[in-house]
Each structure stands twice: as structure tokens, then as C-alpha cells.
């Protein structure tokens, strides 16, 4: 099958339970908001292909599958990720404080050069706000990570957040390619198993008979 994209980026959503990771994912991938997604059942990742400076960039965005609830994210979740959205809820102080723990978790498990971005979600709920925008900005400066406040419900900044992250990954990747003159999209990872065998099993037998 012909490739319908120029780049494939694996992105992750990380943050405490209930901060709106799945809502952000659905806002971005389906342009929908449904408050009935209380926990994340059956959703592995979502795909959306965007256009960046004339290149088709396929974003594969992975959800935690609820494994963040008791801090039980698998190390396998982080493998091969190129960008991570760290999400907290501006109406939940604890979720903001935990961003530091999640960053530590990322440093432990993700690749060292993964692009990160902090999102303060639910910024539509001004009356319930516990974390000011300034504190979010301050944290982002401290870790030298980009920051934006979002509302998945009102569709505020979700789109631009993903575009920003994707653009940063693309820039980093193209810079690397220039330096190493690697072919585009070359990955150092392994192979995924597919159903179609690369060679027919019978070919071994026929090869035997050649002798």
C-alpha cells in the first residue's frame, strides 16, 4: 500500500486520572466532546493526519488506557514515543503538583529527546480554578517545556497544542536528518509482526529440493 503520509509521529497523553486526557484526544481526533467518557475503555490510540508546511504528518496519539490511575503505566507505553502531552486540570491542585512526578516518570522511561508540552486543561471552568495560568507558565519555564491552557469542552487551544508539538518534533527530526543525512522516516526500532509472511512457508521445502 502506498504511504499516505510523509511522517508518522507517536504521541502520548500523560497525567492524572480525570484531567481530561481522553476528552482532549477526542476533541482533536473526532472534534467531539462527550462527558460520558468517564474512564477510558476500549480506546488504544487515535489517528489524525495533519498538514504541516506541505508535509502530511500522521499523528498516532496513545491514551493511557486508565493505567495511570494507580501509577501503573507500563514501560512499554513509552517505547518509541516522540512527543508527550503532560496534562493537568486547572481545577485540581493535586493534578498540577503531580506533573513533576510524571516528568520524572517520563525521564525514567521515555527516550531522552522526546518532545514535551504541558497542558492546563478545563480552563473553561474559571469559577472552580485552583491553579493560576501564571503557575502553569512558571512550571513550564522551570522545565523548559512549552505550555498552553486548553479546554477540550470549548475546543480551545487543543488544535494548536497538537500542531505546536508536531511542528517541534518535525523540526527536530529534520535537523537530525540533515546532520546524519538519514533517509526520511528511518527508524531505529524493530519490526512489527504482520499477518502476511514475507516468504511462503513452502519455499523452504522447495529450496531443500534444489539441493
Amino acid at each position: 500500500m502506498a504511504k499516505t503520509y510523509d511522517y508518522l509521529f507517536k504521541l502520548l497523553l500523560i497525567g492524572d486520572s480525570g484531567v481530561g486526557k481522553t476528552s482532549i484526544l477526542f476533541r482533536f481526533s473526532e472534534d467531539a466532546f462527550n462527558i460520558s467518557f468517564i474512564s477510558t475503555i476500549g480506546i488504544d490510540f487515535k489517528i489524525r493526519t495533519i498538514d504541516l508546511d506541505g508535509k502530511k504528518v500522521k499523528l498516532q496519539i496513545w491514551d493511557t488506557a486508565g493505567q495511570e490511575r494507580f501509577r501503573t503505566i507500563t514501560t512499554a507505553y513509552y517505547r518509541g514515543s516522540m512527543g508527550i502531552m503532560l496534562v493537568y486540570d486547572v481545577t485540581n491542585e493535586k493534578s498540577f503538583e503531580n506533573i513533576k512526578n510524571w516528568i520524572r516518570n517520563i525521564e525514567e522511561n521515555a527516550s531522552a529527546d522526546v518532545e514535551k508540552m504541558i497542558l492546563g486543561n478545563k480552563c473553561d471552568l474559571e469559577a472552580k480554578r485552583q491553579v493560576s495560568k501564571e503557575r502553569g507558565e512558571q512550571l513550564a519555564v522551570e522545565y523548559q517545556i512549552k505550555f498552553i491552557e486548553t479546554s477540550a469542552k470549548d475546543s480551545l487551544n487543543v488544535e494548536s497544542a497538537f500542531y505546536t508539538l508536531a511542528r517541534d518534533i518535525k523540526a527536530k527530526m529534520e535537523k537530525k536528518q540533515k546532520e546524519a543525512s538519514n533517509p526520511a522516516g528511518a527508524r531505529s526500532g524493530g519490526h512489527q509482526l504482520r499477518n502476511e509472511p514475507q516468504r511462503k512457508p513452502t519455499s523452504w521445502l522447495s529450496r531443500c529440493s534444489l539441493l
Binding site: S39, I41, G66, R79, H191, S209
Partner: protein, 531 residues
């Protein structure tokens, strides 16, 4: 935070080893309400992979906790390199102004440089390979769990013959290239292997019915194979020793041959970042279908009671909370003794070793991924499985290799395995930059593990005990056992049906009962951009 953990589940799984994780995924996949716990703070139990820091913690934990020593004992770690480099603090760049364009000098590793790059290590407690057409590969593909994992092909199979390492010809190209086997031998070999591949189960049993009490070696000798060929087939392909029963040897050969030609030059695959990733892939699927995960959660007591409707309920006390379930699936190492019936028979334990070296055991143009089946050195010894993995597998930093030794215990891990280590590594320490024939061993770890791989029955029908890792090369026994346990819990249900791709999940607006799965007619891999 633990307090919002629900208390009632259809299935509770304790332990995140391979068997437990497959059962958890299978139950969750068909809609069972699953809680998955582990007493440890990481996934995998004895099947885990550790980075270098995690491994140090594991070693400390084993050495200080007598309960742990029931599973892992005779643990001995040794360094063959300096703690810190003497000149490191001095300006490093000034050293070699001359050979700027020459061959890069071999890096000198220190214990500190291992520690600095600890994250780049993924060291397996239970390193295993997958047969390309084995049950685990088929299951990963049919269940769509393959999307969580990546693999590398084992690039070569080696054997030890006439006191040196020799490549075992696997593909036609190998057979033609090899000078170790003469042309007449090649014909003989191919004729016999082709007939083995051709047999189905019945024909095989028929053909070999007179060989039931004879060894595979006797059969190969009877077929007129030369000693060289007998060595290749028996030791390298069947992975057996002189005492291997004939039928078993034939079956092992067939398994090897059937897996050739699917993914690479050899029949084997190695999971990227180590075997410890695989249980986690099944856990992810379990979670995606609603399974609840909680690590660091030891259990204290397991009891059964009869509910009002006459059903048996298993209750578990954990951190002053009582959890209820219809079925408990529990790893043998977490299982209270009184639930096991009868006590498993004493079995032969496993001797293991891990080595970190500064080069491959046999030089190669491209980074190799090697299986070596080392024949027994004496009649009392067992064959040793040797796996060598490099940086491309995510197992270690550039410039290093991780080598695993696995065998059935005779005396203890070090006595069983050191003689072989000395044959293929330079164990003397010293100058790492010296151009030695054998790679330098920089670090080693020897240990014994209790063999808990025999299936164990429980005293209660609704408690299912999962075995621990075996000494075998593959995961086949784990997959088989997981399926059996699943069928007991969910009779008549499909074992890990294919999980839909995200593109196939269609959300209807304003449904409150959650997403419905629907197969779209279009190609699942379609990449239609939204807009």
C-alpha cells in the same frame, strides 16, 4: 489514592508474569471485569526486564529478603572493570590528536559509565525467543496485541564444534555458503530434514513408533549421518543432548524448520527492549478493555466463602481492604501454600547468568543477534542456551553486548556456567582497548532460580495457579497454560479474539453505554485524514 479501588470483580489476577498477564488480557477482552495486582512496583515478576539501576535494586532486594531467596538464590555479581576512570577528570579531548580520522578507539568502560547510562540497559530475568511460527507469534497477530511490541530477527544460530564457534546453516544461502559441511553431507541433511517437515503428527508417531525407547542420536546415526551432521541436527537445531528421546528430537527439529523463512534468516524473533515487554503488552490490552491495574499491592490472605446464591466467592485481604471475585488467578510465587494441591514435586532448578561484554562472541559485519546452543561439556552437564543481544535491541548502550546463559542446574549457577563463559569470553579483566580474540567480560551475574514451571493444581475450583518461567527457549508453555486457565474460567468463549484497530471503532453521538465496536468495510489501515 488506593481507596477508590473498587472491591468487587469477576476476575482478580495476582502477579504480572507472562501466564497471569495473558489470562488477564483474555478475560478482559471478552468483557470480564478484571483487577490485576502485583506486590512489586513493576510489571513482570520473574519475567521482568530491568534497567541497570533497577537490576541493582533487584540484587539488593534478593540478598536482603529471605522470602525472595526462595525463588532466586546463589546470586553473585562481579565487576571486571574499574569503579571510575583515573584520567577521566583530566581533559579527555586532548588525548588523541593524531588519529582523528582513524579507527575510533574502543571505549573504556567503568562502573561509573555503566551507572551514567543505566537507562539504556534492559536486562532480562527470563530471556526467551519466539519461534516465527510458534503459538505466541500467532497469538500476538491474531489478537492484534502485536501492535504493542516490536521485534528483531535473530540473525544467526551458532554452535560449539571442535572447540570453536561455528555458524549453523539455516537458510539455503547459509547452506551454500558454509564450508563446514561437504556437498554429500548437505544432500543427506536436506533429505532427512525435508522428510521430517513433511510428517504430520500421525505420520510422525507412526514412522517413529519403533524408536520410542531410543534416542534421537541413535536415530541420526542409523540414518547414516556423519558426526558433524549429527552435531548440527541434535545440538543446534533440536537443542538436545545425547540422551534426547527420538520423538522429542524429531518434534523439536520440525518446530525449528517450520519457523524458517517467515521473518528472517533464522526461525527466531527477539522482543525489542527484552522479553519483559511482552507481559506488559497483554496488560495494556487488558487495561484498554477496562481492566484495573494496581502495582505495589501485596495480598495478605485468600479465603473462600459461599454467597447467598450458593456461588463460591474468593476474598482477598490486601492493605486492609477486602476484595471479592468469582475467580482468582494467581502466580505460583504469590500463592499461599495451603491453596496449592498437592505440593509440586521437587524439580530441577535453573542456573542462569548474564554477562556484559565489549564485543560480540563472533565478529560480524552487521550487529548480530545470536542464539548459541552450547553442547554439554561432560556427560554430567546439561546443554546451555546462550543468547547474545546488542544495542539495536534496546538491551544496552552502543559498544556493549548482553549475553544470557540458561541451563538446568547441576551444581550451582557459577559452577555450571563459568566453564562455558571462559571458552567464549576473556574473563581476565585488564585493558579493554587491547585487540583480543574473545570479547572482554566487563560484568557478570550468576544466579539460580527455582523452577516453578510445572503446572500446579489448586485446592479450590475457582482459584487458578499460574506457573513460573521454565528453562526452555520459547514462551510456548506459558501461552498453552494461559489458554487452559482461560477456558476453565470462561468455558466456550473465544481466547483473545482480534482487538479492533482504532479506525474500526465508530462512536455514535450521545450514547451513554460506551463505545460500540463495528467493523468498517474499508481497509482497516486506511489513512483518511479527518477534516
Amino acid at each position: 489514592m488506593d481507596d477508590d479501588l473498587p472491591t468487587d470483580f469477576q476476575v482478580i489476577v495476582v502477579g504480572t508474569g507472562m501466564v497471569e498477564s495473558i489470562v488477564a488480557a483474555a478475560c478482559s477482552r471478552i468483557g470480564k471485569n478484571v483487577l490485576h495486582l502485583d506486590s512489586s512496583d513493576h510489571y513482570g515478576g520473574l519475567w521482568a526486564s530491568y534497567n541497570f539501576d533497577g537490576l541493582q535494586k533487584f540484587i539488593k532486594e534478593v540478598n536482603s529478603d529471605p522470602k525472595r531467596q526462595l525463588q532466586v538464590y546463589n546470586l553473585a555479581e562481579k565487576w571486571y572493570i574499574e569503579k571510575a576512570s583515573a584520567e577521566e577528570s583530566k581533559a579527555e579531548g586532548e588525548e588523541k590528536p593524531e588519529d582523528g580520522k582513524g579507527e575510533p578507539a574502543k571505549k573504556v568502560w567503568t562502573q561509573d559509565s555503566f551507572a551514567a547510562e543505566y537507562r539504556k540497559f534492559n536486562i532480562d530475568m527470563t530471556p526467551k525467543l519466539l519461534f516465527s511460527r510458534g503459538p505466541l507469534v500467532e497469538l500476538l497477530i491474531s489478537s492484534n496485541i502485536a501492535r504493542y511490541a516490536e521485534f528483531r530477527c535473530v540473525t544467526r544460530v551458532l554452535t560449539w564444534l571442535s572447540d570453536k564457534l561455528m555458524p549453523v546453516p539455516c537458510s539455503r544461502a547459509d547452506v551454500f555458503a558454509t564450508e563446514a559441511v561437504g556437498i554429500v553431507e548437505k544432500r543427506q541433511l536436506m533429505k532427512m530434514l525435508t522428510s521430517i517437515v513433511g510428517y504430520n503428527e500421525e505420520e510422525m508417531n507412526n514412522e517413529f513408533k519403533d524408536w520410542n525407547d531410543k534416542t534421537f542420536k541413535e536415530y541420526l546415526t542409523h540414518k547414516g549421518l556423519t558426526p558433524n551432521l549429527i552435531h548440527y541436527v541434535l545440538s543446534a537445531i533440536a537443542g538436545g543432548t545425547n540422551s534426547m528421546p527420538c520423538l522429542e528430537g524429531v518434534k523439536e527439529c520440525k518446530k525449528f524448520l517450520m519457523s524458517l523463512g517467515r521473518y528472517g534468516n533464522t526461525p527466531f524473533l527477539w522482543p525489542m527492549y527484552g522479553s519483559g515487554e511482552l507481559p506488559q503488552c497483554f496488560c495494556r490490552l487488558c487495561a484498554v478493555f477496562g481492566g484495573v491495574y494496581c502495582l505495589n499491592r501485596p495480598i495478605d490472605k485468600v479465603q473462600t466463602k459461599t454467597a447467598d446464591d450458593g456461588k463460591t466467592v474468593v476474598t482477598i485481604d490486601s492493605k486492609s481492604k477486602t476484595l471479592n471475585c468469582d475467580h482468582l488467578v494467581i502466580g505460583i510465587n504469590e500463592c499461599p501454600k495451603d491453596l496449592i494441591s498437592p505440593e509440586p514435586a521437587e524439580s530441577c532448578d535453573i542456573s542462569k547468568a548474564v554477562f556484559i561484554t565489549n564485543g560480540s562472541i563472533m565478529k560480524s559485519d552487521k550487529e548480530p543477534l545470536t542464539l548459541l546452543r552450547f553442547p554439554p561439556l561432560t556427560d554430567e552437564d546439561n546443554a546451555v542456551t546462550v543468547l547474545e543481544v546488542g544495542p539495536a535491541t534496546g538491551s544496552c548502550p552502543k559498544g556493549l553486548f548482553v549475553v544470557y546463559f540458561i541451563t538446568n542446574k547441576v551444581k550451582d549457577a557459577e559452577s555450571d556456567l563459568m566453564p562455558i563463559a571462559e571458552k567464549i569470553f576473556d574473563m581476565s579483566g585488564g585493558d579493554q582497548t587491547a585487540d583480543t580474540e574473545k570479547p572482554k567480560c566487563l560484568w557478570s551475574l550468576f544466579y539460580n532460580v527455582k523452577d516453578t514451571s510445572a503446572p500446579v493444581a489448586s485446592t479450590v475450583d475457582s482459584v487458578h495457579v499460574c506457573s513460573g518461567p521454565d528453562a526452555g527457549l520459547d514462551f510456548d508453555r506459558a501461552v498453552e497454560q494461559a489458554e487452559q486457565i482461560f477456558k476453565k474460567i470462561c468455558p466456550g468463549q473465544e481466547f483473545l479474539p482480534r482487538a479492533p484497530d482504532p479506525e474500526e471503532i465508530v462512536f455514535e453521538d450521545d450514547v451513554t453505554h460506551g463505545p460500540e465496536f463495528q467493523r468498517e468495510d474499508e481497509d482497516a489501515e486506511g489513512d483518511a485524514p479527518k477534516e
